[in-house]
């Protein structure tokens, strides 16, 4: 087993990567909250969701986190009556993305909280390492 402190910062940086991927997907959702199709009756942008998975790193002896899969949300689309829209169907209804702003923002809040937690861990590990190095410094 290698140094546990290095393993700790590895786990934390993996956490940072996972949370930033989540943030990226969330911003895609928010940016595309009004993206409709082009042709009559076509499907609009479908909301993406991220799922995480714990992966055990045998060499380091820690549980790392990885992005397991980015999938499409199968929830039904919103519809709105806009007869003049290019994506309107025969009855004049346009399908809008199944993105809910409130859900996205709450998710974003959680992602940023987890990101901060991971940076805090890295800070603390660095402080511990420098404390050990300080033992060698002649006083």
């Amino acid at each position: 087993m290698s140094d546990p402190l290095i393993a700790a910062s590895k786990a934390a940086s993996n956490g940072l990567f996972a949370q930033s991927t989540r943030m990226r997907v969330l911003s895609e959702n928010i940016a595309n909250a009004e993206s409709t199709g082009k042709t009559a009756g076509s499907d609009p942008y479908q909301r993406k969701t991220v799922s995480f998975q714990a992966v055990s790193d045998e060499a380091e002896g820690v549980d790392l986190v990885t992005v397991d899969d980015i999938t499409r949300d199968q929830a039904p689309f919103r519809t709105e009556y806009m007869p003049g829209h290019p994506a309107a169907d025969a009855k004049g209804y346009v399908k809008l993305p199944n993105v809910d702003m409130l859900t996205e923002l709450a998710d974003m809040r959680e992602a940023s909280r987890s990101y901060t937690a991971n940076t805090q861990v890295i800070k603390q590990v660095r402080e511990i390492v420098s404390m050990t190095i300080d033992l060698l410094r002649p006083s």
């Binding site: 140094d3 546990p4 402190l5 393993a7 700790a8 910062s9 786990a11 934390a12 993996n14 956490g15 996972a18 949370q19 989540r22 799922s51 995480f52 998975q53 714990a54 380091e60 002896g61 820690v62 549980d63 790392l64 986190v65 959680e110 992602a111 909280r113 987890s114 937690a117 991971n118 805090q120 861990v121 603390q124 590990v125 402080e127 511990i128 404390m131 050990t132 300080d134 033992l135 006083s139």
Partner: protein, 125 residues
């Protein structure tokens, strides 16, 4: 107590603390992973009890088999709420543990420094 033994003990605890810190960071990294259960390691008392070897005064004495490896174990149930996703990591609790690690590590390092200075003041004279 001999100062050398104290250095050994302090280093041993620092090793244990580093191991604990890595388990804590695993927990925090997996704070949003469905089905992940928070982990902790054996308490230092248990590790010491199993790892401090008995003195062998004869060649025919057995060496203890267990080397006192640090094992991961699940957090006791009921310490934190289990979310719908099956995840029971409590970030506040992890930070509490982390600051505990920090405090002990600082104490150990300072103690070692002090003893190092005492030794030096004798050897340099």
């Amino acid at each position: 107590m001999q100062p050398m033994q104290l250095f050994d003990l302090a280093f041993r605890q620092n090793e244990w603390l580093a191991q604990r810190q890595s388990v804590i960071s695993s927990n925090i990294a997996n704070a949003n992973t469905p089905g992940y259960k928070a982990k902790d390691i054996e308490s230092f008392d248990d590790v010491m009890r199993s790892s401090v070897s008995m003195a062998s005064t004869d060649d025919q004495h057995f060496a203890p088999a267990e080397t006192g490896a640090v094992r991961n174990q699940d957090n006791g149930s009921g310490e934190a709420d289990v979310l719908v996703s099956g995840n029971d990591v409590n970030i506040e609790q992890e930070f509490l543990k982390s600051s505990e690690v920090m405090r002990s590590y600082t104490l150990n390092s300072q103690l070692m420094k002090t003893f190092d200075r005492m030794l030096q003041s004798v050897t340099k004279a």
